[in-house]
Every structure is written in structure tokens, then in C-alpha cells.
Symmetry: C2
Subunit: 498 residues, 2 copies
């Protein structure tokens, strides 16, 4: 399916492709440029594979100077640019844009330094998330944020999306674990943002860049914080007779002052799909299960497990099991990590949502999702970072049934709007990309969006970096019908062109 | 002393004060405006009392609508605005600017909600830092960041400066503990940035605002994260024969995988001053002491204390004492908290610096400070957040001796430059304000400064918010002689006016 670009987001340039390839080849070199349809095909989508678009040109630079040269040429000729890491993103952030250069950072895959005393790793953006922990393991250190795609996704993409993972409840998102980023602006300037210290002077452009989805610049180096590998880790598996009870138990765990390393929830649809696939040892009759992990020194973990077990039982758990071995602990988690592919086994297609709500509203939002699921006649599985209030409803469908994807998208939109209504947000960790760009009109008012566009112009006045992603134009919102319009007018006349 | 504004930073407006007071009084009301020199005097400086300037007008709004009205009027008439919390800042961020409105948020001092289930507090910006913890105590919760001024400083000022404190090694700076800010822009728009969830869509303007020193907008509401009060807290006091050894011991504690709640260091000059003042029980013959606190459950704390004691002894500590009672623990910390006033007792004046360096370079930087101290003939005491590598050298001097303050400032500048040379930054937690604005030219190159100015223009195109603070103009840097000039030219011709 081709993504429907809003007219206000379209960037037109009359540049001849062969001429531009010649200009690029002066800097990037022959093997660093792809233009044959066959070579472009692998780049036509990211993890949101419902949408596809063939890139105009793929550039694979190998040095910072080459990135600078590509961006300068694009700016000079008004050619849009989409940066891409491993392409595992789930919201279409790396989806190619028509007539745009796709800038792949895959070639930047070197670990430049691991500083044991300061517990940091300086790496190139194309290094895989898990590769950092693997390299740091010899020093007893690891990189904490662990998106489910950590085997494949790159740290540059993690920074661009502000990725989370199972352990971000305790250890924070990417933004809490990144110390410095080197960024090339569209002008070709190389900026060093952040530093080895804890705080720095000047505006916090490091945090601004983190999660900016490739709209402000291209990340060419990342320095991350490393943590000591905890000496002890144990997980509890609690079963419940209803998802509402499980939701209340999650809120009660946090309310009891416990800080689990991971606190995940799964409903019956997902439990059955997973159990059938990886035999994780889950109770297939439970309406919902909660996985609750603690790490630290043995005494702390033991004490936390006892307290958490009591909380679960008080909240009506029908069973509470503790992993009895490291093998069993890994099996419990293997089930969680296989939840998405397991859904793929029971349904031809599935659509993974990503909304965040205040924890205490988990029961009611789960109820609302179940009502919406019934209304649309589409099965929704729930598997998510319950401790963060970060939902991942999986809508099961069949793309070959005409009109079904459209219904899925409508249901998805309604689920996100229910999250916003509950005081939450339309994305927890997957980013907005193209997927949730309309819901941004529900999330934010005109004043906030106008300020976003003003910040964007401070980096990219021509709007060439990843156009049509993450931040909707006010015109898109007016059309979507959800703009908080004041007195019938879009605020900020100077933003009329957006 | 009047602060020397650079000509490129001066905002001139020809507005008549009485006329502007009349315009303001239509919105703020008579008792919310101060203009008599006597009433203005208390606002003439903040914690950096070396610099003073009488405000043009002080406005004390009580509602968000009043803040919006004041900012709209200022924008319309080209009048600069300086926002102020409690005025405890140490870098002159709230220093009045000539012909500018000083906007005091002191009247916004209500705690609006404490949400126990989500562990958050929603407060007005004029609420004192400690008042949040006091109000949350009934639920067993507290707000972690604890600047030394926490009795007096306000949460709005904390956000504006991204304040730290003794416990930020473990619990993070303000930016890690703030979930949402409501901000009024110079246009008078009310923006809601961040949210109750962990991450949100759109650019991370919440982080951008945090630490922006009043240059981007005026904070009118803050929602902070609360933490459970730890059940057990204990502190170790380790003594050393040299500051270098103490510095190495600090790096070794972190290197051993320990995460103290606080890790502070003090040299002999400070130890003696403190001991004479509050009788904290410090060993007055030690060249340096390190205070190392752990919190958590009893077993964890005991285990950490044992490990930390071993590390200190291995690193050459001449003595390691553990607080034997809560009273003794509080006494140990009372000494640390009284270090600044204690310096005030042994010297007519002192100047508190604030630089950050990578921990492993503590010994060499401390040596360099001692060399600089000898060279300038000025006594420097050291008391600081060693665990964060955040130095607070205290330069002792006598402001009545002609030319001494100038020598102090020169020495201070050299100390900050030594921090930057060591891979550090010119501020850890006190902000840049006017104090370190020249050193920003050392810290950043033209490309970074140009990007800062572009971001500033996205919020405040006329440069009316807190002009002359935090981010130097390129002209100032060219004059200061430290701009990283490329090919003899200031980069970015469009920034020539800066």
C-alpha cells in the first residue's frame, strides 16, 4: 500500500536523477549508491510493512564527511532525505518518501571505545543494540534499553525513536541512557550534543534530538551509558481470572513501592498463541498473566519477590510462580519476546499498536479496547509493558480481505484516542512516523504543533528531513477534523503554509 | 557591581515606564506591580550577588491568564522579560536586565494535586522544592532532587536551571524527575509539554525547556515524579591523606559497581571551616574526606557499606567510619550542607564555581586547581558532588580589596577552562546565567552556538526573554577571543546580527 502523503507535506523538486547521482558519486563513491529498482526493493519499507514506497536513490555513506556532503547536496538542490538504521521501526519512520534520498547508516557499525572507568560506550549509529551489551559483557557491563528487536535494531535508530523495552520501567528509555550524540545538520554542520558529564550548559539539544524521528538531523555517533550486570535476577509469573484484575495488580505492585526491572502483561489470546508456539510454560486457561522481574543483589531480590507475591495474591491472583532456574526464567521471557511472531502464526496479518496511559487507568482502557474489538469484529490480543502503562494491542486481520486493513486502521485510531482520553499518549516507544500522524492532531493543540514546527524550522527551514513524518501539518489536522481550532481559525498566521 | 552587557545583547525600547505600568495594571492589578526603588531593591540580584541591577518594573501575577497578558504586552512593545523564582540561583539567571520587566512567580505557590497511585505531584512553579517532599511525606513519598538551597528554592527555578543536588548521582537531575510542564510562550500561548506517561510523541520540548534558564518561555505549572522514601539509609565517612587519593577512591567506588545515593568530597580547608562552624565530627587533620551514602532495604545497604569500606581501605583511606545513629548521619550531612556558609565565616567573601569533569580525571583537575590557586594567590576550598564529577571550588576573597573580584573571576574562568580541557563542562547544576557566559565560547563551537540561536528564535524571535544570559552571541565570543572561528570568519552569515 502506498502511504497517502498530504498535499501540504509534499516536497517537489525537478532534479534529474542521473545528474544527482553523478553529484553524489563525487563524494560517496560508486558502491555507496543504489538506484536499480532491484537494489532499491529491500529499502521500500520498514517494520510497518503495510506501507511501501521505492526510494529515489539509496546512499550508503561510510564516513561523516560523506554524510555531510550528501546532506549539503540535498539542501542545495531541495531534495528530501530519509535516514535509516536497520529499518526495524514499527511506525514507518524510515518509510521512503517519493523523490527522496534514503540515507542508510548501516555502514557505520564500529564500536569506537568502551570506557570502563566512566562506564560508557562510544559507537557508530549502525551498531546493533545487542552488540553494545555483547562488547561490554567482558567488563561486567551492559546497555540497559532492550527493545524486542534488539538483535537487529541499531543504536542510531534507537536514539531517533527514543526506544524503550522490557527493562525501561527501572532503567529508563534511550533518552535516559544516552550521554552524547554527534549530529550532522542539513547544512552539513557537525554538532556535538551532550557530553560525558551528567548535565551540560546550553539548551538540551541532546534530548531534543532523541526521539525526533530523523526530522532534525542525521546521527553519526552515539555515546551511551553502561550499567553493571546485576548479580541476581528472578521473575514471578502471576495468573488472573480477568484482565481488569491483572491491570489492578500491576498498579498495586507500583503502589507498594516496588520497582521491578520488568512488569509485563499478556491476555488469554496472546497466552494461547505463545504457548502453542514456544511452550513457555504459561497457564493457558488464565485470562491474563503478569511477568514481574526483579534484579539486584540476592537479598534485595528475595525481599522484593516476597512482597510482590503477597501483592499479587491480595489482588486475586489464581496462581503465583517463581522461576526456579535461570533456564525457566529465560523460558518465561522467551514467551513474551515471541508474542508478536506468535500472533503472526494464528492470523495472516497483525497490526501492533503502541499507546501509553496512566497505570491506574489500565482496567478501564483494557475494557474499552475489548468493546471496540467487539464493535469492529476484529480480534485484539494484548501484550504490553504494563508497568509503564505502555499498551501494545495486536489487531489480528487478513490483508487479503478487501477493506480489512482500513477497518484495522480505524480501530487502531480509536484505541489511540481512548488512550489520549484516559490522559495518555498515542505512542510509548514506537514513535509516530506515518502511522500515528493523524492522532497527533488529537494529542496536541495548534499552539503545541505550531511550536513543533518552529523548532523544526530552526534545524531544517525547507522541511527536507523526513517530510510528512511525526509532526502533522496544521492543514492535515484541519482536514483530519481534530485540530483544536480557536475561533474557527488556525492559530499563528505565519504557519499558514504548514 | 553592574554586569557588563555586551552591545550585541542589548535590547532597546523607548517605552515610557508609567504608560507601560498602566497597560500592565489593566491585567495584573495594583498590588501585583512594583516600581518604587525601595520595592525594587529586593529583586536587584539573585544568589550571584556580585552583580546587581534594579529592575524596571516587577510584576507579580497570580494567574496563568495574567502571565499570558504580561508576556503579550512585553512582546507587543519590545520590552524584555526576566522570570524569577526564589532568586537563589548562583549564576545570575534571575539578575534583572536594564529596562526589563522582572516577572516573579513567587505568588504561584499552590500544591495542586498529589497522585499517590501514579506517584506524581502537580504544583505551581513558586512551590519550594522541600515543600513538595513535605506534602508527599504522608504517603511515604518524596521528591528526589535536593539542591542545597532546597528550603528556599522553587520548583520552577529548579526546572529552569535543571538543578541537581547531593542525591542526583542515584536519582537524576530535575530533567529526570519532571513529567510535565505548562509553559507560557512570549506570544502568550499556553503549551502543555510532556505528560503523565514515560515518553510522548512529538519533539521532547519538555527536556528542551528544562535547564533553558528562562530563555524560551515562562513555566506556570510543573508535574514531578515522586519516589518511595527508602526504608534504610546509612553513610560512610572516609578520610584520606591527599585529595588525589580521595579522588581516585571516588572513581573506584563507581568502578566497583556501587551506586551510592550520595558521594561527596571535601578538602582540608573546607573540613576545618565546617568543623569550626557546625562540629559535624569530621577529622580536621585529613587532607580530604569522602561521604558515601547508601539507601534501600537494610540488607542491600549493609552489603553496599561493606563493599564500599573495602574499596576505601584499598584506595588508602586512613580511616573509615559508619554513622552509628540517624543523629550522627544527619550531623555528617549537616557539615556538607553548611560548607558554603562555613566558608563565609573564614573569609569576607567567596565565589562558588560549578564545573563538571569525567570522574576518572578528578585527581589531575584537583591538582591543576591547586596550582592555579597558588598562581593567583587566592585560597580555594573544594567541596563537591564527587560521584558526578561535579566540582564546586570555593574561591575565598575580600571584595573590599580593589581588583580582587576581577582576579577571582579570572581564576574562576581558568578553572572552568581546565574542566573543559579535561573533557568536562563549565556547569554541573548552577546554570550558565551571566556568570559563565564567556566560557560558553570555550565550551561550544560556532556551529553549536548557531543552532542554539536558531532554537531560541523558534520560541522568541525578538530575543526578549532573559536577554544576555546563558547563550552568548557570536559577537561576544569573537571578542572574548575563544570562538572556534573557521577560516577567520564567524560561520553562518545569517547569524551576523548575533
Amino acid at each position: 500500500m502506498v502511504y497517502r502523503v498530504h498535499p501540504s507535506e509534499r516536497i517537489s523538486h525537478g532534479v534529474d536523477r542521473n545528474r544527482f547521482l553523478r553529484l553524489l558519486s563525487e563524494h560517496v563513491g560508486g558502491d555507496g549508491l543504489l538506484f536499480d529498482p532491484e537494489d532499491l526493493r529491500p529499502y521500500e519499507c520498514d517494520g510497518l510493512s503495510a506501507y511501501r514506497e521505492l526510494p529515489w536513490i539509496v546512499a550508503l555513506p561510510k564516513t561523516i564527511e560523506q554524510v555531510q556532503a550528501v546532506l549539503r547536496l540535498c539542501r542545495e538542490h531541495g531534495v528530501p532525505v530519509v535516514a535509516r538504521g536497520a529499518g526495524t521501526g514499527l511506525s514507518g519512520g524510515a518509510l521512503p518518501v517519493a523523490d527522496a534520498v534514503l540515507l542508510s547508516l548501516a555502514g557505520f557499525n564500529g564500536i569506537m571505545a568502551i570506557d570502563r572507568a566512566n562506564r560508557t560506550a562510544r559507537v557508530q549509529p549502525g551498531v546493533r543494540n545487542l552488540a553494545i551489551s555483547e562488547a561490554a559483557a567482558r567488563y561486567g557491563l551492559y546497555y540497559a534499553p532492550d527493545p524486542s528487536s534488539q538483535i537487529a535494531c541499531t543504536i542510531g535508530g534507537n536514539v531517533a525513536e527514543n526506544s524503550g523495552g522490557v527493562h525501561c520501567l527501572k532503567y529508563g528509555l534511550t533518552v535516559h541512557n544516552v550521554l552524547q550524540v554527534r549530529l550532522v545538520t542539513l547544512d552539513g554542520e557537525l554538532l556535538t550534543l551532550g557530553g560525558s558529564g551528567y548535565d551540560g550548559p546550553g539548551y538540551d539539544l541532546l534530548a531534543l534530538i532523541t526521539g525526533s524521528e530523523g526530522l532534525l538531523g542525521v546521527i553519526v555517533e552515539v555515546t551511551v551509558k553502561l550499567l553493571p550486570i546485576p548479580p541476581c535476577t528472578q521473575v514471578l509469573l502471576a495468573s488472573f481470572d480477568s484482565v481488569e484484575e491483572a491491570g489492578r495488580a500491576v498498579a498495586a505492585i507500583i503502589g507498594a513501592g516496588l520497582v521491578p526491572a520488568g512488569l509485563e502483561m499478556m491476555d488469554n489470546i496472546t497466552i494461547r498463541a505463545v504457548e502453542d508456539f514456544v511452550h513457555a510454560g504459561y497457564p493457558i486457561d488464565a485470562a491474563a498473566i503478569v511477568l514481574c522481574e526483579f534484579d539486584g543483589i540476592g537479598e534485595q531480590v528475595e525481599s522484593d519477590l516476597l512482597k510482590a507475591g503477597d501483592v499479587f495474591r491480595t489482588q486475586g491472583a489464581t496462581g503465583v510462580r517463581q522461576s526456579t532456574s535461570e533456564a525457566e526464567r529465560k523460558r518465561f521471557w522467551a514467551g513474551r519476546k515471541a508474542a508478536f511472531p506468535a500472533a503472526g502464526r494464528i492470523s495472516p496479518d497483525y497490526y501492533c499498536m503502541d499507546g501509553t496511559i496512566p497505570r491506574k487507568r489500565l482496567p478501564e482502557v483494557l475494557r474499552r479496547i475489548s468493546e471496540l474489538s467487539a464493535h469492529y469484529g476484529l480480534v485484539v490480543g494484548n501484550v504490553f509493558h504494563a508497568g509503564d502503562g505502555n499498551l501494545h494491542p495486536l489487531i489480528l486481520y487478513d490483508a487479503n480481505k478487501s477493506g480489512e486493513l482500513e477497518r484495522v486502521e480505524e480501530l487502531g485510531g480509536k484505541i489511540l484516542e481512548a488512550c489520549v482520553d484516559a490522559g495518555g499518549t498515542i505512542t510509548g516507544e514506537h514513535g509516530v512516523g506515518v502511522e500515528k500522524i493523524n492522532q497527533m492532531c488529537v494529542q496536541f493543540g495548534a499552539a503545541e504543533l505550531a511550536q513543533f514546527h518552529a523548532v523544526k524550522r530552526a534545524f531544517d527551514p525547507g522541511g527536507l528531513l523526513n517530510p510528512g513524518k511525526a509532526v502533522p501539518t496544521l492543514h492535515r489536522c484541519a482536514e483530519f477534523g481534530a485540530m483544536h481550532v480557536r475561533g474557527g481559525q488556525i492559530a499563528h498566521p505565519e504557519l499558514e503554509r504548514f
